[in-house]
């Protein structure tokens, strides 16, 4: 992993069209601003990881859904 030190209001460029800027530092939190093209997905990593985990669980050994039919029998 590349490690860079940045001060408040300083930026990092990823390629030539993504800018990551430090907007604030306080109470152990860093506020980051990101300028990127529209088609670049940006989300907090834990959200993506949650979806990954949920999908892996959902994909495991699908059941025979014939058992689902019974759910709607009166």
């Amino acid at each position: 992993m590349l490690i860079l030190t940045r001060k408040l209001d300083e930026s990092i460029m990823l390629g030539n069209d993504i800018e990551v800027k430090v907007l604030g530092i306080e109470d152990g939190k860093v506020k980051i601003g990101i300028d990127a093209p529209r088609d670049v997905d940006i989300f907090r990593k834990e959200i993506y990881m949650e979806i990954q985990e949920e999908n892996k669980e959902a994909a495991v050994e699908q059941k025979d859904l014939s058992s689902l039919k019974d759910l709607f029998k009166k």
Partner: protein
Amino acid sequence: MELHTKHFGKIEVEQEKIITFPDGIPGFEEEKEFTIIQNPDENLPFHWLQAINEGDLAFVIINPFIFRPDYDFKISEGVLTKLKIESKEQISIWTIVRVPEKVEDMTANLSAPIVINNEEKLGKQVALENSPYGKRHEVINELRESQNAEKAPSKEAPKGGV
């Protein structure tokens, strides 16, 4: 093309039924092509999102509006661009269903819906930031209610059979 699946055996998938997911599906990023297998039982709202190149990989999916008519989220500019979406008529929305041992406890991931552009055959599972919906939204009770609501009026005015 012919597809060997774990759950459906050997199936035939027409080229135009193949949907490309440019980013794959989170957790399965290498799988870029899927097809939707409709449930042969028309009374069941569950269908499958089957990977084209990995026969063993399939997800149970459901149209979330069936049990949550008020389901609502904004598709980001990025996703609109990526999936070449120009109008809502082009798209369909699905959610992945997790089916545990006890089937009644099944949940749908409403915080990460799947958006498909049916015309362009492009799809993506979208992460909703700050979503009011849970990743483990319980489905069964709401689904039963909606099914009963559907059945009730049809008794009074039965449609011509097929």
